[in-house]
Every structure is written in C-alpha cells, then in structure tokens.
C-alpha cells in the first residue's frame, strides 16, 4: 500500500505545482501568462508522446508536427465548414438529433451549421489512426536515418498538401474555430473569462497522459519496449513481436499528438500550415531530446518551460536558433538528457569522495598513523 502511495507522489506534486502556479499568477496579477502556459502544455503533450516513441521504443520521428496538424485541421475544417446546404434534409435532421451537427451563429451573425466539436474530435482521432497505421506499417521496418527521412517526408507531404489546397485554407490556415463545450460546464475556448478553467483543463490532460504512460511503461508492454530499444534482435529472439509493438507505439504517439492538436485548435480558435512544417517537428524532437528521451517528467518540464518562453517572445528573432543550439548542446554533452547527466555528475562526485576517503584511510593504516 505504502509502495503504491510512494509511486503516486510525483503526480501529486505535479498537481500541487499547477495549483501553486495559478495562485502565484493570481497574487501577482499576471494571469495573462495563462495563455502561453496553456499553449505550452498542449505542445508538451506532443513531446511526451514523441518521448514514448523515441525514448522507449527507440524510433525517431521527424514528422510529428504532421499528426498535430492532421488532428487540428480535421477538427477545424469540420467545425467551420458550413453544411447549411443540407438544411431541411432528413439527413441533417438525423445528424442533429444524434448531436453530430450543431447550428450556431458565427462571428459575423450568420447562421451556420457545422459538425459538433465532439464529433469532429472523434473524426480527427479516427483519421489520425488510419493515417498513422498506413504510414507506420511500412516506415517502421526501416532503421535509423531512413526512418527519419520517411517521417520527415510524411510531415512535409502534409505541410505541402495543406499549403496547396484552398479547402484547408492554403497558406492562411483556418480561423474562427468555435469553442468546444465538453459538458459539465467545461469548455475549451480562448476567451479571457475561461482562462483559469482552460489552464486546469490542460494541466489535467497532461497529468492524465503521464499517468497513462507511466502505467504503460511499467507494464509488460513497457518492458517489451525497453527490450526493443536495447537490442531488437534479442527481443525478437525472445518471441516479442517487435514490429507490432513499434507500430502500436507509433500510432499511440501519433494520436496523442493529434489530440493535442484538436484541443490547441479550439483554444486558439484556429490553426495554420506552419504546424506541419519541418521546423515544428524538429522542435518537438529537440525538446524530447533536451528533456532526456526516456524521462517523461524531464520532457514535460523542459518542453513546457521552453515553449512558454518562446511563446512569450523571450527569444525574439533568435527563436529557432535557440532551439537549434539547445539541440546541439544537449546531444553533444548529455545525450541521456540533462537531468541524468547532472545526477551522474553529482553521484560521480560522491563516488569519488568515497573512494578518496577509502584511500586516505588505507594510506593512514599503512603508515601506521
């Protein structure tokens, strides 16, 4: 019992931390920071999912921005496309009854009929599942840099298709995405009044994700993944169906990215093609690497912090360069992630001190002091 409680403490600490940040912002009257915090938390979800893929299953993906965009654009298109032409048909009435369609007044006072956000979310998840399966099945049989190229190519294909199609808003993206009423009085929206609510919603989602993944990592599946990461041929010899596991992890991480995309789109009321671009995907990889690829907590902290700073404009025009530099530094100096490196350094110092003490004692004894 106590053991289980011990395992829970980081999650409790995270929850307490979220509340602390809220109180801090309230007390210092800087609640406008919630915007950037919430956006960073959604980006961190993508990175956490990527961390699962890269750190635990050992597969690199340079195209996760593509999945974020697929999720976001699917829900954006469905919730903004006006199906009014179908008004009055029995199909429309039926779909309205099962809450798939919803009538609302848009920004400029026109009556429109769109897909309801919940239905759009489900659609986005389904679409992502199918695409991730289609791309993942052949791609995951590749190794190392070939997989990197394949995923990069995938992300770019999504990016170029979105840019070249007026249906997806071409270069301007989609805006005017309505808020998403989740039920129980919660709504994903960018309105100032709903700031705190949305912040806790994002925190809650991240927490949920971490709990889910932690359970996954500590289960049989997680151990299988670890085996695959370490020595794939050995894992195969042990009878682990490596390709099935890798594909499942790929699809899972893709759907996590897409889910983050849907929530993000409703929060910022829009999405642009830059979300599928190479720079964004690279940024996710950089953050996963910087947080320590196999450390879910490290990744969450680093990703939230850096995205927050970037969205506040702290890096100014050097934004991309900062991420590039971080990437280079972390990988060159501390490839297991900064936290592990610091810990090893401290432990190393301790070991060193221990050894020196032992040598001193031995010397003292030999000299006969």
């Amino acid at each position: 019992m106590l053991g289980k409680l011990k395992g829970l403490w980081p999650f409790v600490a995270f929850g307490v931390g979220c509340v602390l940040v809220h109180q801090l912002l309230r007390v210092t009257e800087t609640e406008y920071c919630f915007t950037q915090l919430t956006m960073s938390l959604y980006y961190s979800m993508v990175v956490i999912g990527l961390c699962l893929l890269m750190g635990y299953a050992g597969q690199v993906s340079l195209g996760h921005g593509g999945f974020f965009a697929i999720g976001g654009f699917t829900s954006a298109i469905l919730t903004t496309f006006d199906f009014s032409k179908l008004k009055g048909t029995s199909l429309a009435a039926f779909l309205k009854q099962i809450h798939m369609f919803v009538s609302r007044e848009d920004l400029f006072g026109n009556q429109v009929m769109n897909v309801s956000p919940w239905a759009a979310f489900v659609a986005a998840m389904l679409v992502t599942f199918v695409i991730a399966a289609l791309v993942g099945y052949p791609a995951l049989r590749l190794r190392g840099h070939y997989l990197a190229m394949a995923t990069l190519g995938f992300g770019l294909i999504v990016n170029k298709i979105v840019l070249g199609t007026s249906f997806t808003g071409a270069a301007d993206g989609i805006n005017g995405v309505p808020e998403w009423k989740l039920g129980l009085g919660l709504a994903v929206s960018g309105k100032s009044a709903a700031r705190v609510q949305n912040y806790y919603l994002a925190c809650g989602l991240v927490l949920l994700l971490l709990i889910l993944l932690r359970n996954l990592v500590h289960s049989r599946v997680g151990r299988a993944l670890q085996a695959i990461h370490d020595r794939e041929t050995a894992a195969n010899a042990l009878g682990i169906n490596t390709s099935a596991y890798k594909l499942k992890v790929f699809i899972l991480s893709a759907m996590i990215a897409a889910m983050a995309g849907v929530f993000f789109t409703h929060y910022t009321a829009g999405i642009g093609p830059s979300e599928a671009g190479a720079l964004k995907s690279i940024r996710y990889v950089a953050l996963a690497a910087a947080g320590g690829m196999a450390s879910l907590w490290g990744v969450t902290c680093v990703s939230t912090l850096l995205n927050y700073l970037s969205l506040r404009g702290i890096f100014g025009s050097y934004d991309n360069a900062v991420f590039g530099a971080i990437l280079i530094l972390i990988i060159s100096l501390a490839p297991e992630g900064p936290f592990k490196a610091v810990r090893e350094w401290i432990l190393g110092r301790k070991k060193e001190e221990c050894r020196m003490q032992k040598n001193k004692n031995r010397l003292a004894r030999e000299v006969g002091v």
């Binding site: 190794r143 190392g144 070939y146 190229m149 195969n236 690497a289 990988i331």
Partner: protein, 297 residues
C-alpha cells in the same frame, strides 16, 4: 508549340531542376559514404557558398570570389566537424542526425544575422538573365549547362580521388571497415574532418553555380537539403553517380507531375515517390543492399 517540342521542354526543365538537386546530393552522399552521418546541414553549406561568393564578388572578379567561397566554406565544414563530432563518444545514429539538424538551424539563423533576409545572386557565368540555348525547338538557360558541367567534373574528380589517391582510398577504408583502417594506421578522425571539409566545399561550389538560377537567400538551405536527400536516397546512398542519377530523376518526376497535375503538388509527388522507394527498395534504385542492413528484418 507542338507536343514534341513541349515534351522536350518539360524534359529540359526537369533536367534544370534535377541538376540543382544532383549537385547538392553529391556532397551529401560523400559525407554519408565517408562517415555514415546524414548531414542535414548540407543545404546550409550550399547557401553559405552562394552568400560568401556574392559578398566576395563585390571586391573581386568572379573566379576569385568562387574560389574564395569554396575554400572558406570548406574550412567552416572542417571546423564544425572538429567542434561537434570529433570528441563525441560513439553516438547513435539518431544523436548524430539530431546534431546536424541543430547545426542547420543555427547556421541559418547566423546567416540571417550576418547578411539579411534579402535575396541576392551571382551574375550568370556566361550570358545573362535572358540568354538561352536552343536545343531542337526547346530552350534552356546556359547556366544549366554550367551546373551540369560542374556535376560531371565533380563526379569525375571524386571518382579519381577516391580510387587513385592515398587519402581517397583511406577515406573509403574508414567508411567500410573502421577498425581495420585504424589498425592500418589511418587516423579516422582526420579522415572524417577531411570528408566534412570536402563535402562543404562541394556544397559551396554547388551554391555558387546554382545561384543565378535559384537566387541565394538565407532560407534556401532547408528545402534544398530535403530535396538533396530525397535525390541521394532515391539513387542509393554510397555512390556519387547514383546521387546524380537520383537528382535528375527527382527533377524529371517534378516536371512530369507539373505536366499532369496542378503544379502545387509537384513537391508532394516527389516526396511520395521517396516514401515509396523507402518502403519498397530502401537502398535506392542503384544502390546495393550493403552489409549494414537498412531494414530491421
């Protein structure tokens, strides 16, 4: 224009783009062959070559500016290898890729701040912006012939270097059997630095010769690198001639795509073909399935 001429014109425009991709792919292929590193920063070497050459061309005649640019960028390549790759413990492929990605981003930003966001270009090596060479009813800019000429010379020189000179053979030894090469007394680290420098220099040369066609600007590295990889992988990594063939093939594919589909999707076509090749025949059209397998099983 009759359809025969039209088809020929499409072919020539495919060759134009293809030659640009080919000349980028060669440098990329060289680093991969010699060190096993996928260098995402290759596109930035191309960009730097063009930028430095344009700046030098303000004070010096064109041939001097070109030579200067190639030498400077080659030195930068060596420097980068020394700084970032020399002291690495045996890193996984993933880590090395990520470092080169980071490098490409940083170099791009540095270029933005050293020069600025404006577009610039070298003058045409022969002729000017409107001159064209007529070939059986279709036309091509003379600069494309310069690019093709550079590609041919580069391939020939590389072939000679790798097969007949001591350093070249040492480089080949390092890439295929590093331990044996070390035992034979070859300094792997130096070979790697040489490979980087050579690749950077080739990239710079590419950047100079394509500058009048594509124009040089700080953001050109990324898209070129991606197309360059697609070309090298399509052709098959490890073989400079395959890289050239891959480049020309990508260019022709794009031209073909434009002739049939809306032009907006020509990149999509190229990447789809790349994905297809990776899934079906990952070692490329002309490559051999080497000992280091590309697939898991």
């Amino acid at each position: 224009m009759d359809s025969g001429n039209l088809a020929l014109q499409y072919l020539l425009s495919g060759v134009t783009k293809g030659s640009i991709y080919a000349v980028v792919a060669i440098g990329f292929n060289l680093i991969y062959s010699a060190t096993g590193v996928l260098n995402f920063a290759q596109g930035e070497f191309v960009m730097l070559g063009g930028m430095v050459a344009v700046t030098l061309a303000h004070f010096a005649p064109l041939p001097v500016a070109l030579t200067g640019a190639v030498i400077i960028v080659a030195l930068i390549g060596c420097l980068l290898e020394l700084l970032f790759f020399r002291n690495l413990r045996r890193q996984s492929v993933l880590h090395l890729i990520i470092i080169t990605i980071g490098l490409s981003i940083v170099i791009q930003e540095a270029a933005l701040h050293i020069w600025d966001e404006k577009v610039r270009s070298l003058p045409y090596f022969s002729g000017n912006e409107v001159s064209s060479v007529k070939l059986w009813g279709a036309a091509i800019s003379p600069q494309v012939l310069w690019v093709l000429g550079t590609v041919a010379c580069t391939v020939a020189l590389l072939h000679f270097f790798l097969k007949y000179t001591l350093q070249g053979r040492a480089m080949r030894a390092c890439s295929s059997q590093p331990e044996a090469a070390m035992l034979a007394g070859i300094n792997i680290g130096n070979m790697r630095t040489l490979a980087f420098g050579l690749s950077a220099g080739l990239g710079a040369l590419a950047g100079c010769v394509i500058s009048p066609i594509t124009m040089t600007h700080y953001e050109m590295g990324g898209p070129l690198a991606i197309k360059g990889f697609a070309a090298a992988i399509l052709g098959g990594l490890g073989n400079p001639m395959a890289a050239v063939a891959g480049g020309l093939l990508v260019g022709l594919l794009e031209a073909f795509s434009v002739s049939r589909l809306p032009a907006a999707y020509n990149d999509v076509t190229a990447f789809l073909v790349l994905l297809l090749v990776l899934f079906v025949r990952p070692h490329g059209l002309f490559g051999r399935a080497s000992a280091e397998s590309v697939r898991e099983h």
